[in-house]
Protein backbone atom coordinates (compact mmCIF):
# COMPACT_ATOMS: atom_id res chain seq x y z
CA UNK A 1 0.00 0.00 0.00
CA UNK A 2 2.91 2.35 0.76
CA UNK A 3 4.20 1.87 -2.75
CA UNK A 4 0.81 2.84 -4.17
CA UNK A 5 0.66 6.01 -2.07
CA UNK A 6 4.27 6.87 -3.00
CA UNK A 7 3.41 6.70 -6.72
CA UNK A 8 0.17 8.65 -6.11
CA UNK A 9 2.11 11.31 -4.21
CA UNK A 10 4.44 11.85 -7.15
CA UNK A 11 1.46 12.31 -9.49
CA UNK A 12 -0.12 14.88 -7.17
CA UNK A 13 3.18 16.79 -6.94
CA UNK A 14 3.35 16.75 -10.71
CA UNK A 15 -0.10 18.38 -10.90
CA UNK A 16 0.82 21.33 -8.74
CA UNK A 17 4.17 21.78 -10.46
CA UNK A 18 2.56 22.00 -13.88
CA UNK A 19 0.77 25.15 -15.00
CA UNK A 20 -2.32 23.50 -16.57
CA UNK A 21 -4.52 23.72 -13.52
CA UNK A 22 -3.53 27.29 -12.63
CA UNK A 23 -4.21 28.50 -16.16
CA UNK A 24 -7.61 26.80 -16.29
CA UNK A 25 -8.55 28.05 -12.83
CA UNK A 26 -7.60 31.65 -13.61
CA UNK A 27 -9.39 31.54 -16.98
CA UNK A 28 -12.52 30.23 -15.22
CA UNK A 29 -12.35 33.02 -12.64
CA UNK A 30 -11.80 35.68 -15.31
CA UNK A 31 -14.70 34.51 -17.48
CA UNK A 32 -17.05 34.24 -14.50
CA UNK A 33 -16.10 37.66 -13.14
CA UNK A 34 -16.54 39.16 -16.61
CA UNK A 35 -19.97 37.55 -16.96
CA UNK A 36 -20.93 38.68 -13.46
CA UNK A 37 -20.16 42.27 -14.40
CA UNK A 38 -22.78 42.27 -17.19
CA UNK A 39 -25.71 44.51 -16.32
CA UNK A 40 -29.02 42.74 -16.97
CA UNK A 41 -31.91 45.18 -16.65
CA UNK A 42 -30.36 46.67 -13.49
CA UNK A 43 -31.14 43.51 -11.51
CA UNK A 44 -28.25 42.43 -9.27
CA UNK A 45 -29.99 39.25 -8.03
CA UNK A 46 -29.93 37.32 -11.31
CA UNK A 47 -27.53 34.46 -10.66
CA UNK A 48 -28.53 31.23 -12.39
CA UNK A 49 -26.93 32.06 -15.74
CA UNK A 50 -23.71 32.72 -13.85
CA UNK A 51 -23.97 29.42 -11.98
CA UNK A 52 -24.56 27.63 -15.28
CA UNK A 53 -21.53 29.20 -16.97
CA UNK A 54 -19.33 28.59 -13.93
CA UNK A 55 -20.38 24.93 -13.61
CA UNK A 56 -19.93 24.36 -17.34
CA UNK A 57 -16.40 25.74 -17.13
CA UNK A 58 -15.69 23.62 -14.04
CA UNK A 59 -16.85 20.50 -15.88
CA UNK A 60 -14.77 21.28 -18.96
CA UNK A 61 -11.66 22.19 -16.95
CA UNK A 62 -11.93 19.15 -14.67
CA UNK A 63 -12.29 16.83 -17.67
CA UNK A 64 -9.30 18.44 -19.36
CA UNK A 65 -7.20 18.08 -16.20
CA UNK A 66 -8.33 14.48 -15.65
CA UNK A 67 -7.79 13.24 -19.19
CA UNK A 68 -4.57 15.08 -20.02
CA UNK A 69 -2.94 14.31 -16.67
CA UNK A 70 -3.81 10.62 -16.85
CA UNK A 71 -3.09 10.12 -20.53
CA UNK A 72 0.56 11.17 -20.20
CA UNK A 73 1.41 9.19 -17.05
CA UNK A 74 2.58 5.85 -18.47
CA UNK A 75 3.89 7.18 -21.85
CA UNK A 76 5.95 9.83 -19.99
CA UNK A 77 7.49 7.17 -17.75
CA UNK A 78 8.36 5.16 -20.84
CA UNK A 79 9.71 8.15 -22.74
CA UNK A 80 11.89 9.29 -19.83
CA UNK A 81 13.04 5.72 -19.36
CA UNK A 82 12.01 5.72 -15.73
CA UNK A 83 9.50 2.91 -16.12
CA UNK A 84 12.03 0.09 -15.95
CA UNK A 85 13.85 1.42 -12.85
CA UNK A 86 10.46 1.93 -11.21
CA UNK A 87 9.44 -1.66 -11.86
CA UNK A 88 12.89 -2.94 -10.90
CA UNK A 89 12.24 -1.72 -7.34
CA UNK A 90 9.78 -3.69 -5.22
CA UNK A 91 6.84 -2.24 -7.14
CA UNK A 92 4.52 -4.50 -9.09
CA UNK A 93 2.81 -3.50 -12.29
CA UNK A 94 -0.57 -3.57 -10.56
CA UNK A 95 0.75 -1.27 -7.83
CA UNK A 96 2.04 1.14 -10.46
CA UNK A 97 -1.31 1.25 -12.26
CA UNK A 98 -3.29 1.63 -9.03
CA UNK A 99 -0.83 4.27 -7.77
CA UNK A 100 -1.10 6.26 -10.98
CA UNK A 101 -4.89 5.98 -10.89
CA UNK A 102 -5.08 7.04 -7.25
CA UNK A 103 -2.71 9.96 -7.85
CA UNK A 104 -4.67 11.25 -10.83
CA UNK A 105 -8.01 10.79 -9.06
CA UNK A 106 -6.85 12.56 -5.90
CA UNK A 107 -5.34 15.33 -8.02
CA UNK A 108 -8.73 15.75 -9.71
CA UNK A 109 -10.30 15.88 -6.25
CA UNK A 110 -7.96 18.71 -5.22
CA UNK A 111 -8.80 20.71 -8.35
CA UNK A 112 -12.51 20.15 -7.72
CA UNK A 113 -12.18 21.46 -4.16
CA UNK A 114 -10.68 24.72 -5.50
CA UNK A 115 -13.27 25.02 -8.26
CA UNK A 116 -16.29 24.31 -6.05
CA UNK A 117 -15.11 26.73 -3.33
CA UNK A 118 -14.93 29.42 -6.01
CA UNK A 119 -18.36 28.38 -7.33
CA UNK A 120 -19.87 28.49 -3.84
CA UNK A 121 -18.39 31.94 -3.20
CA UNK A 122 -19.62 33.23 -6.55
CA UNK A 123 -23.21 32.03 -6.10
CA UNK A 124 -23.30 33.09 -2.43
CA UNK A 125 -22.27 36.61 -3.45
CA UNK A 126 -25.57 36.95 -5.34
CA UNK A 127 -27.94 34.43 -3.74
CA UNK A 128 -26.90 35.06 -0.13
CA UNK A 129 -27.30 31.38 0.71
CA UNK A 130 -24.94 28.44 0.79
CA UNK A 131 -26.63 25.05 0.24
CA UNK A 132 -23.56 23.10 1.34
CA UNK A 133 -25.10 19.65 1.15
CA UNK A 134 -26.25 20.24 -2.45
CA UNK A 135 -22.73 21.34 -3.38
CA UNK A 136 -21.30 18.34 -1.54
CA UNK A 137 -23.51 15.93 -3.50
CA UNK A 138 -22.69 17.64 -6.79
CA UNK A 139 -18.93 17.74 -6.14
CA UNK A 140 -18.79 14.18 -4.81
CA UNK A 141 -20.64 12.71 -7.80
CA UNK A 142 -18.51 14.85 -10.11
CA UNK A 143 -15.36 13.48 -8.47
CA UNK A 144 -16.52 9.86 -8.78
CA UNK A 145 -17.39 10.50 -12.43
CA UNK A 146 -13.82 11.75 -12.90
CA UNK A 147 -12.66 8.51 -11.29
CA UNK A 148 -14.28 6.58 -14.16
CA UNK A 149 -12.72 9.00 -16.67
CA UNK A 150 -9.28 8.62 -15.10
CA UNK A 151 -9.50 4.81 -15.11
CA UNK A 152 -10.68 4.91 -18.74
CA UNK A 153 -7.86 7.25 -19.80
CA UNK A 154 -5.33 5.08 -17.97
CA UNK A 155 -6.52 2.04 -19.92
CA UNK A 156 -6.39 4.12 -23.09
CA UNK A 157 -2.79 5.18 -22.37
CA UNK A 158 -1.82 1.48 -22.47
CA UNK A 159 -3.78 0.73 -25.62
CA UNK A 160 -3.18 3.77 -27.83
CA UNK A 161 0.19 4.80 -29.16
CA UNK A 162 0.39 8.43 -28.09
CA UNK A 163 -1.13 10.56 -25.30
CA UNK A 164 -2.63 12.91 -27.89
CA UNK A 165 -4.61 10.18 -29.63
CA UNK A 166 -5.68 8.75 -26.29
CA UNK A 167 -6.86 12.17 -25.07
CA UNK A 168 -8.79 12.84 -28.28
CA UNK A 169 -10.52 9.47 -28.21
CA UNK A 170 -11.35 9.88 -24.51
CA UNK A 171 -12.86 13.34 -25.10
CA UNK A 172 -14.97 12.03 -28.00
CA UNK A 173 -16.25 9.10 -25.92
CA UNK A 174 -16.95 11.25 -22.85
CA UNK A 175 -18.69 13.92 -24.94
CA UNK A 176 -20.77 11.28 -26.69
CA UNK A 177 -21.80 9.67 -23.39
CA UNK A 178 -22.68 12.99 -21.74
CA UNK A 179 -24.69 14.14 -24.76
CA UNK A 180 -26.50 11.05 -25.94
CA UNK A 181 -26.10 8.09 -23.56
CA UNK A 182 -29.37 8.80 -21.71
CA UNK A 183 -31.31 8.46 -24.97
CA UNK A 184 -29.38 5.64 -26.61
CA UNK A 185 -32.17 3.13 -25.89
CA UNK A 186 -34.70 5.39 -27.65
CA UNK A 187 -32.33 5.73 -30.60
CA UNK A 188 -31.88 1.94 -30.70
CA UNK A 189 -35.64 1.44 -31.13
CA UNK A 190 -35.58 3.46 -34.35
CA UNK A 191 -32.84 1.27 -35.88
CA UNK A 192 -33.03 -2.03 -37.73
CA UNK A 193 -31.51 -5.32 -36.60
CA UNK A 194 -28.69 -6.13 -35.96
CA UNK A 195 -27.76 -2.48 -35.28
CA UNK A 196 -30.63 -2.20 -32.84
CA UNK A 197 -29.23 -4.97 -30.60
CA UNK A 198 -25.72 -3.53 -30.85
CA UNK A 199 -26.83 -0.03 -29.80
CA UNK A 200 -29.16 -1.39 -27.13
CA UNK A 201 -26.34 -3.52 -25.67
CA UNK A 202 -24.06 -0.51 -25.79
CA UNK A 203 -26.64 1.43 -23.77
CA UNK A 204 -26.38 -1.06 -20.93
CA UNK A 205 -22.62 -1.60 -21.24
CA UNK A 206 -21.27 1.95 -21.20
CA UNK A 207 -20.74 3.91 -17.99
CA UNK A 208 -23.55 6.47 -17.81
CA UNK A 209 -21.50 9.51 -16.89
CA UNK A 210 -24.54 11.77 -17.28
CA UNK A 211 -25.95 10.27 -14.06
CA UNK A 212 -23.30 12.19 -12.16
CA UNK A 213 -24.20 15.53 -13.70
CA UNK A 214 -26.19 17.38 -11.04
CA UNK A 215 -25.68 20.80 -12.64
CA UNK A 216 -29.35 21.41 -13.41
CA UNK A 217 -30.35 20.54 -9.84
CA UNK A 218 -27.72 22.89 -8.40
CA UNK A 219 -28.39 25.75 -10.83
CA UNK A 220 -32.14 25.76 -10.26
CA UNK A 221 -31.99 25.10 -6.49
CA UNK A 222 -33.76 21.75 -6.53
CA UNK A 223 -33.83 19.82 -3.24
CA UNK A 224 -31.19 17.21 -2.36
CA UNK A 225 -31.33 13.88 -4.11
CA UNK A 226 -32.16 10.99 -1.80
CA UNK A 227 -29.04 9.66 -0.07
CA UNK A 228 -29.77 6.03 -1.06
CA UNK A 229 -29.67 6.98 -4.74
CA UNK A 230 -26.57 9.06 -4.09
CA UNK A 231 -24.89 6.03 -2.50
CA UNK A 232 -25.98 3.75 -5.33
CA UNK A 233 -24.50 6.17 -7.87
CA UNK A 234 -21.16 6.07 -6.02
CA UNK A 235 -21.24 2.25 -6.08
CA UNK A 236 -22.05 2.37 -9.79
CA UNK A 237 -18.99 4.57 -10.34
CA UNK A 238 -16.77 2.31 -8.22
CA UNK A 239 -17.88 -0.67 -10.29
CA UNK A 240 -16.83 0.96 -13.57
CA UNK A 241 -13.56 2.21 -12.05
CA UNK A 242 -12.87 -1.38 -11.03
CA UNK A 243 -13.71 -2.69 -14.50
CA UNK A 244 -11.37 -0.24 -16.25
CA UNK A 245 -8.58 -0.72 -13.70
CA UNK A 246 -8.70 -4.51 -13.97
CA UNK A 247 -8.61 -4.19 -17.76
CA UNK A 248 -5.66 -1.76 -17.51
CA UNK A 249 -3.78 -4.13 -15.19
CA UNK A 250 -4.39 -7.04 -17.57
CA UNK A 251 -3.14 -5.05 -20.56
CA UNK A 252 -0.10 -3.71 -18.68
CA UNK A 253 0.80 -7.15 -17.36
CA UNK A 254 1.19 -8.43 -20.94
CA UNK A 255 2.83 -5.30 -22.30
CA UNK A 256 6.55 -5.07 -22.99
CA UNK A 257 7.92 -2.11 -21.07
CA UNK A 258 11.27 -1.74 -22.82
Amino acid sequence: MNNIFAVAGVVIKELYRRKDFYVLFIVTILICVMMASVNIYNDAHIVRYLKEICLLLIWICSLVVAVTTTARQIPAERENRTLLPLLAKPLTRVQLIVGKFLGCWLACGLTLVCFYIFFGALSASREHQWPLMNYFQAAMLHWFMLGIVVAMALLGSLVFAAPSSNSTICFVIIGGILFAARHLDQVALTLREPLRTVVYSLYFAIPHLELFDLRDLVIHNWPLIEWKYFGLALLYALFYMGVFLVAACQVFRRKAVN
Binding site: V38, I40, Y41, N42, D43, H45, I46, V47, R48, Y49, L141, R182, H183, D185, Q186, V187, Y203, F204, H208, E210, L211, F212, D213, L214, D216, L217, I219, H220, N221, W222, P223, I225, E226, Y229, L232, A233
Partner: protein, 304 residues
Protein backbone atom coordinates in the same frame (compact mmCIF):
# COMPACT_ATOMS: atom_id res chain seq x y z
CA UNK B 1 26.81 50.99 -32.47
CA UNK B 2 26.11 51.90 -36.06
CA UNK B 3 24.17 48.67 -36.75
CA UNK B 4 22.02 49.21 -33.67
CA UNK B 5 21.21 52.75 -34.81
CA UNK B 6 20.36 51.51 -38.29
CA UNK B 7 18.08 48.87 -36.75
CA UNK B 8 16.15 51.42 -34.70
CA UNK B 9 15.87 53.80 -37.66
CA UNK B 10 14.55 50.97 -39.83
CA UNK B 11 12.06 49.99 -37.14
CA UNK B 12 10.92 53.59 -36.87
CA UNK B 13 10.59 53.86 -40.66
CA UNK B 14 8.49 50.68 -40.71
CA UNK B 15 6.29 52.00 -37.93
CA UNK B 16 5.72 55.24 -39.84
CA UNK B 17 4.90 53.30 -43.03
CA UNK B 18 2.48 51.04 -41.13
CA UNK B 19 0.73 53.96 -39.48
CA UNK B 20 0.54 55.86 -42.78
CA UNK B 21 -0.88 52.85 -44.64
CA UNK B 22 -3.46 52.22 -41.90
CA UNK B 23 -4.50 55.89 -41.87
CA UNK B 24 -4.79 55.83 -45.65
CA UNK B 25 -6.81 52.59 -45.82
CA UNK B 26 -9.18 53.17 -42.87
CA UNK B 27 -11.53 55.69 -44.59
CA UNK B 28 -11.67 53.49 -47.70
CA UNK B 29 -12.46 50.44 -45.56
CA UNK B 30 -15.24 52.29 -43.72
CA UNK B 31 -16.77 53.36 -47.05
CA UNK B 32 -16.48 49.86 -48.55
CA UNK B 33 -19.93 48.33 -49.14
CA UNK B 34 -18.70 44.76 -48.56
CA UNK B 35 -17.43 45.48 -45.07
CA UNK B 36 -19.00 43.33 -42.33
CA UNK B 37 -17.69 45.47 -39.48
CA UNK B 38 -21.05 47.09 -38.70
CA UNK B 39 -20.09 47.46 -35.05
CA UNK B 40 -22.25 44.49 -34.07
CA UNK B 41 -19.88 41.81 -32.82
CA UNK B 42 -22.50 39.04 -33.18
CA UNK B 43 -23.12 39.99 -36.79
CA UNK B 44 -19.41 39.86 -37.59
CA UNK B 45 -18.71 36.58 -35.79
CA UNK B 46 -21.90 34.62 -36.49
CA UNK B 47 -23.39 36.11 -39.64
CA UNK B 48 -26.91 34.87 -40.37
CA UNK B 49 -26.47 31.86 -38.07
CA UNK B 50 -27.07 34.22 -35.15
CA UNK B 51 -30.83 33.74 -35.62
CA UNK B 52 -30.40 30.05 -34.94
CA UNK B 53 -28.45 30.81 -31.76
CA UNK B 54 -31.04 33.42 -30.82
CA UNK B 55 -33.76 30.79 -31.01
CA UNK B 56 -31.67 28.41 -28.88
CA UNK B 57 -31.27 31.07 -26.20
CA UNK B 58 -34.98 31.88 -26.36
CA UNK B 59 -35.74 28.20 -25.70
CA UNK B 60 -33.09 28.24 -22.98
CA UNK B 61 -35.05 31.01 -21.26
CA UNK B 62 -38.12 28.75 -21.31
CA UNK B 63 -36.01 25.92 -19.88
CA UNK B 64 -35.09 28.25 -17.00
CA UNK B 65 -38.79 29.09 -16.65
CA UNK B 66 -39.27 25.36 -15.95
CA UNK B 67 -36.22 25.20 -13.64
CA UNK B 68 -34.45 22.80 -15.98
CA UNK B 69 -37.37 20.38 -16.53
CA UNK B 70 -37.47 20.53 -20.31
CA UNK B 71 -37.68 18.02 -23.17
CA UNK B 72 -34.58 17.31 -25.21
CA UNK B 73 -34.59 16.59 -28.93
CA UNK B 74 -35.13 12.91 -28.04
CA UNK B 75 -38.25 13.51 -25.91
CA UNK B 76 -41.89 14.14 -26.83
CA UNK B 77 -42.10 17.94 -27.06
CA UNK B 78 -45.71 18.29 -28.27
CA UNK B 79 -46.56 20.14 -25.06
CA UNK B 80 -43.70 22.59 -25.62
CA UNK B 81 -44.33 23.76 -29.20
CA UNK B 82 -45.04 27.25 -27.89
CA UNK B 83 -42.83 28.38 -25.05
CA UNK B 84 -44.80 28.48 -21.81
CA UNK B 85 -43.22 31.74 -20.70
CA UNK B 86 -44.71 33.33 -23.86
CA UNK B 87 -48.07 31.53 -23.61
CA UNK B 88 -48.44 32.71 -19.99
CA UNK B 89 -48.30 36.35 -21.13
CA UNK B 90 -51.70 35.78 -22.76
CA UNK B 91 -50.71 37.44 -26.02
CA UNK B 92 -49.44 34.38 -27.87
CA UNK B 93 -51.46 31.68 -29.59
CA UNK B 94 -50.50 28.42 -27.89
CA UNK B 95 -49.96 25.39 -30.13
CA UNK B 96 -49.22 23.05 -27.27
CA UNK B 97 -50.88 19.67 -27.06
CA UNK B 98 -50.17 16.61 -24.96
CA UNK B 99 -49.01 16.19 -21.40
CA UNK B 100 -46.57 18.85 -20.22
CA UNK B 101 -46.15 17.09 -16.87
CA UNK B 102 -45.11 13.72 -18.20
CA UNK B 103 -43.18 14.17 -21.41
CA UNK B 104 -40.63 11.68 -20.07
CA UNK B 105 -43.27 8.94 -20.23
CA UNK B 106 -43.14 5.76 -18.15
CA UNK B 107 -39.70 4.55 -17.14
CA UNK B 108 -38.12 2.48 -19.89
CA UNK B 109 -35.58 0.42 -17.95
CA UNK B 110 -33.65 0.43 -14.67
CA UNK B 111 -31.01 2.90 -15.90
CA UNK B 112 -33.72 5.33 -17.02
CA UNK B 113 -35.61 4.89 -13.72
CA UNK B 114 -32.42 5.37 -11.70
CA UNK B 115 -31.27 8.33 -13.82
CA UNK B 116 -34.50 10.28 -13.22
CA UNK B 117 -33.37 10.95 -9.64
CA UNK B 118 -30.42 12.98 -10.94
CA UNK B 119 -32.08 15.69 -13.01
CA UNK B 120 -35.18 17.90 -12.63
CA UNK B 121 -38.15 15.56 -12.95
CA UNK B 122 -41.22 17.66 -12.11
CA UNK B 123 -43.08 20.28 -14.13
CA UNK B 124 -42.98 23.68 -12.42
CA UNK B 125 -43.08 27.32 -13.50
CA UNK B 126 -40.80 29.93 -11.96
CA UNK B 127 -43.63 32.45 -11.59
CA UNK B 128 -45.50 29.87 -9.49
CA UNK B 129 -42.58 29.35 -7.13
CA UNK B 130 -40.41 26.88 -9.06
CA UNK B 131 -39.20 23.63 -7.46
CA UNK B 132 -40.04 24.86 -3.93
CA UNK B 133 -43.69 25.61 -4.89
CA UNK B 134 -43.20 28.79 -2.88
CA UNK B 135 -45.34 31.52 -4.42
CA UNK B 136 -43.32 34.08 -2.45
CA UNK B 137 -40.39 33.24 -4.67
CA UNK B 138 -42.23 34.02 -7.89
CA UNK B 139 -39.86 36.90 -8.60
CA UNK B 140 -37.30 34.20 -9.43
CA UNK B 141 -38.72 34.52 -12.92
CA UNK B 142 -35.97 37.14 -13.29
CA UNK B 143 -33.64 34.24 -14.09
CA UNK B 144 -35.04 33.96 -17.63
CA UNK B 145 -34.02 37.53 -18.46
CA UNK B 146 -30.32 37.06 -19.34
CA UNK B 147 -31.20 34.53 -22.04
CA UNK B 148 -33.98 36.73 -23.42
CA UNK B 149 -31.59 39.68 -23.55
CA UNK B 150 -28.99 37.61 -25.36
CA UNK B 151 -31.65 36.32 -27.76
CA UNK B 152 -32.80 39.89 -28.49
CA UNK B 153 -29.19 40.97 -29.11
CA UNK B 154 -28.65 38.12 -31.55
CA UNK B 155 -31.95 38.46 -33.41
CA UNK B 156 -33.31 41.99 -33.03
CA UNK B 157 -36.18 41.23 -35.46
CA UNK B 158 -37.92 38.70 -33.18
CA UNK B 159 -40.92 40.57 -31.78
CA UNK B 160 -41.81 37.93 -29.20
CA UNK B 161 -38.52 38.36 -27.34
CA UNK B 162 -39.35 42.00 -26.55
CA UNK B 163 -42.97 41.38 -25.54
CA UNK B 164 -42.11 38.41 -23.30
CA UNK B 165 -39.20 40.27 -21.66
CA UNK B 166 -41.31 43.36 -21.07
CA UNK B 167 -44.24 41.36 -19.71
CA UNK B 168 -42.16 39.58 -17.06
CA UNK B 169 -40.15 42.69 -16.19
CA UNK B 170 -43.41 44.55 -15.59
CA UNK B 171 -45.55 41.84 -14.01
CA UNK B 172 -43.17 40.06 -11.69
CA UNK B 173 -40.12 42.28 -11.36
CA UNK B 174 -42.21 45.49 -11.15
CA UNK B 175 -39.46 47.09 -13.22
CA UNK B 176 -41.69 49.24 -15.42
CA UNK B 177 -38.94 51.60 -16.59
CA UNK B 178 -36.86 48.73 -17.99
CA UNK B 179 -39.93 47.15 -19.59
CA UNK B 180 -40.69 50.49 -21.24
CA UNK B 181 -37.10 50.69 -22.53
CA UNK B 182 -37.24 47.13 -23.89
CA UNK B 183 -40.48 47.83 -25.78
CA UNK B 184 -39.14 51.05 -27.26
CA UNK B 185 -35.99 49.23 -28.36
CA UNK B 186 -38.28 46.63 -29.92
CA UNK B 187 -40.20 49.33 -31.75
CA UNK B 188 -36.96 50.78 -33.08
CA UNK B 189 -35.95 47.37 -34.45
CA UNK B 190 -39.44 46.23 -35.56
CA UNK B 191 -41.33 49.43 -36.40
CA UNK B 192 -45.12 49.14 -36.40
CA UNK B 193 -45.26 45.74 -34.68
CA UNK B 194 -48.80 45.38 -33.32
CA UNK B 195 -47.61 42.90 -30.65
CA UNK B 196 -45.12 45.40 -29.24
CA UNK B 197 -47.63 48.23 -29.48
CA UNK B 198 -50.20 46.10 -27.63
CA UNK B 199 -47.73 45.34 -24.82
CA UNK B 200 -46.74 49.02 -24.68
CA UNK B 201 -50.42 49.93 -24.34
CA UNK B 202 -50.78 47.49 -21.45
CA UNK B 203 -47.78 49.07 -19.79
CA UNK B 204 -49.27 52.58 -20.15
CA UNK B 205 -52.72 51.46 -18.99
CA UNK B 206 -51.89 49.04 -16.19
CA UNK B 207 -48.63 50.45 -14.84
CA UNK B 208 -48.64 54.17 -15.66
CA UNK B 209 -52.49 54.45 -15.62
CA UNK B 210 -52.11 56.78 -18.61
CA UNK B 211 -55.40 56.22 -20.46
CA UNK B 212 -54.79 58.57 -23.37
CA UNK B 213 -51.43 57.13 -24.32
CA UNK B 214 -52.73 53.59 -23.90
CA UNK B 215 -55.69 54.36 -26.18
CA UNK B 216 -53.44 55.95 -28.82
CA UNK B 217 -50.99 53.06 -28.79
CA UNK B 218 -53.70 50.38 -28.94
CA UNK B 219 -55.51 52.18 -31.75
CA UNK B 220 -52.20 52.39 -33.62
CA UNK B 221 -51.73 48.65 -32.99
CA UNK B 222 -55.22 47.90 -34.40
CA UNK B 223 -54.46 49.99 -37.49
CA UNK B 224 -51.13 48.21 -38.01
CA UNK B 225 -52.86 44.85 -37.68
CA UNK B 226 -55.52 45.79 -40.26
CA UNK B 227 -52.79 46.97 -42.60
CA UNK B 228 -50.69 43.82 -42.31
CA UNK B 229 -53.43 41.18 -42.04
CA UNK B 230 -54.18 40.86 -45.79
CA UNK B 231 -50.47 40.29 -46.55
CA UNK B 232 -50.25 37.24 -44.26
CA UNK B 233 -50.79 33.65 -45.37
CA UNK B 234 -53.66 31.58 -43.98
CA UNK B 235 -51.76 30.11 -41.02
CA UNK B 236 -50.26 33.44 -40.07
CA UNK B 237 -53.69 35.07 -40.29
CA UNK B 238 -55.09 32.46 -37.93
CA UNK B 239 -52.24 33.07 -35.46
CA UNK B 240 -52.51 36.84 -35.63
CA UNK B 241 -56.23 36.97 -34.78
CA UNK B 242 -55.49 36.46 -31.07
CA UNK B 243 -53.46 39.67 -30.83
CA UNK B 244 -56.23 41.63 -32.58
CA UNK B 245 -58.78 40.15 -30.19
CA UNK B 246 -56.58 41.19 -27.27
CA UNK B 247 -56.10 44.72 -28.64
CA UNK B 248 -59.81 45.27 -29.31
CA UNK B 249 -61.05 43.77 -26.02
CA UNK B 250 -58.54 45.89 -24.10
CA UNK B 251 -59.69 48.96 -25.99
CA UNK B 252 -63.31 48.05 -25.23
CA UNK B 253 -62.46 47.67 -21.54
CA UNK B 254 -60.69 51.03 -21.54
CA UNK B 255 -63.65 52.76 -23.18
CA UNK B 256 -66.12 51.06 -20.84
CA UNK B 257 -64.08 52.10 -17.80
CA UNK B 258 -64.35 55.69 -19.04
CA UNK B 259 -68.11 55.44 -19.78
CA UNK B 260 -67.60 55.71 -23.51
CA UNK B 261 -70.02 52.84 -24.06
CA UNK B 262 -70.84 53.22 -27.80
CA UNK B 263 -67.09 53.10 -28.56
CA UNK B 264 -66.73 50.06 -26.27
CA UNK B 265 -69.50 48.27 -28.22
CA UNK B 266 -67.76 49.17 -31.46
CA UNK B 267 -64.49 47.58 -30.28
CA UNK B 268 -66.27 44.51 -28.95
CA UNK B 269 -67.95 44.06 -32.35
CA UNK B 270 -64.50 44.14 -33.95
CA UNK B 271 -63.20 41.65 -31.39
CA UNK B 272 -66.11 39.33 -32.21
CA UNK B 273 -65.08 39.27 -35.87
CA UNK B 274 -61.66 37.76 -35.06
CA UNK B 275 -62.45 35.82 -31.90
CA UNK B 276 -62.51 32.03 -31.61
CA UNK B 277 -65.29 32.37 -29.00
CA UNK B 278 -67.69 35.01 -30.43
CA UNK B 279 -70.57 33.90 -28.17
CA UNK B 280 -68.67 35.07 -25.08
CA UNK B 281 -68.04 38.45 -26.70
CA UNK B 282 -71.72 38.68 -27.72
CA UNK B 283 -72.63 38.36 -24.03
CA UNK B 284 -70.25 41.25 -23.31
CA UNK B 285 -71.80 43.31 -26.10
CA UNK B 286 -75.30 42.64 -24.68
CA UNK B 287 -74.12 43.61 -21.21
CA UNK B 288 -72.61 46.90 -22.39
CA UNK B 289 -75.67 47.63 -24.53
CA UNK B 290 -77.89 47.09 -21.48
CA UNK B 291 -75.63 49.41 -19.49
CA UNK B 292 -76.01 52.00 -22.23
CA UNK B 293 -79.81 51.61 -22.20
CA UNK B 294 -79.78 52.03 -18.43
CA UNK B 295 -78.07 55.38 -18.88
CA UNK B 296 -80.83 56.46 -21.29
CA UNK B 297 -83.74 54.88 -19.40
CA UNK B 298 -82.93 53.56 -15.90
CA UNK B 299 -86.29 51.72 -15.65
CA UNK B 300 -85.43 49.37 -18.48
CA UNK B 301 -84.97 45.71 -17.47
CA UNK B 302 -82.83 43.16 -19.30
CA UNK B 303 -84.64 40.75 -21.66
CA UNK B 304 -82.74 37.71 -20.34
Amino acid sequence: MSSSRTFWLLALALLVVCFGTAAHLEPQFQAWQGSRSSGDIFNVVLGDSRRMFANSFYVKADEYYHSGYYPTMFDDNAAFQTTHMAADTGAVNSKNTGDEHGFLGPTRNWIDAFGRHFFPNRHTHLDEGGPDDDLGGSDNVREILPWLKLSADLDPDNVQTYTVTAFWLRQRMHNVAEADAVLHEGLRNCPGSCDILFELGRLYYESYHDTDRARNVWEAAAKQWEKKYPELNQDQQKDSRLIMEQITTHLAKLEEDHDNLPKAIEWLEKAKEVSGTPEVLQQDIDRVKYKLMQEVNPLLKPLY
